[in-house]
Symmetry: C2
Subunit: 105 residues, 2 copies
C-alpha cells in the first residue's frame, strides 16, 4: 500500500467550498509539501501559488488547464500539471481522491 | 499549529457514504493509529472494531452514544469515546473536522 513515511501531518484540515473540497497537509523531511485531498461532485476553479502536480488516485472528473480550449477527462487515475500563478477549472463527477505536490522552482 | 510528527500516512483515502465521510490513516512510530477525517452534513451510523476516541476539531453535530437515550451536541470542538464493538449515530450539521484515535486494550 502506498504511503508517505517519516512525515509531519497538520491535524487541521484545509476546507474549501463548504467542505466539498478538503485536504490534509503533509510536510516531508526536506521541507517539501503535498496535500492529500478529496473533491466531491461539483464545479470548481482554483489558482496556483506554485507549480502544482495533481495526481488523481481515484475519481471521475474533467479538467480545463490554463490556456486550454478542450477539457481533459480522467476516469480512474491520472495526472496533470498546472504552472505557478495560473487558474484551472475542475468538473468533478464522483468523489475524487488526489495527491497535490507543490513544486518550488 | 498542531501537527503529528515522524508519522506514516497512507496515500489512499478511506471513503464512506459516497464521499460524505472521508479520512486519512496516520500510523505512529509505536504502531498506534489515528485517522484524520471530514464529515459533511448527513446522518450516519458507525460501528467500532476498537475503542475509539473522537476529537472534534471543528463542526456542528449531534452524537447518540451506544445505550444513550439523549443526543450529545457539539458546536465547535468536543470529544467523545465509544467502546469496542458498539454502534453510534451522528447527525452532522456542518462540515466537521475530526481526529479519531483507535485504542487497543
Amino acid at each position: 500500500m502506498s504511503q508517505f513515511e517519516q512525515v509531519t501531518v497538520l491535524t487541521k484540515a484545509n476546507i474549501y467550498f463548504e467542505g466539498k473540497v478538503t485536504s490534509r497537509t503533509v510536510v516531508f523531511a526536506d521541507g517539501t509539501k503535498k496535500t492529500l485531498g478529496i473533491m466531491l461532485p461539483g464545479e470548481y476553479e482554483f489558482g496556483t501559488d506554485t507549480k502544482e502536480i495533481m495526481e488523481i488516485q481515484a475519481g471521475e472528473l474533467k479538467v480545463l488547464l490554463p490556456g486550454a480550449s478542450e477539457w481533459l477527462e480522467i476516469n480512474g487515475t491520472g495526472e496533470f500539471t498546472v504552472p505557478k500563478g495560473e487558474k484551472f477549472k475542475l468538473d468533478v463527477r464522483s468523489a475524487t481522491d488526489y495527491i497535490c505536490s507543490y513544486i518550488q522552482e
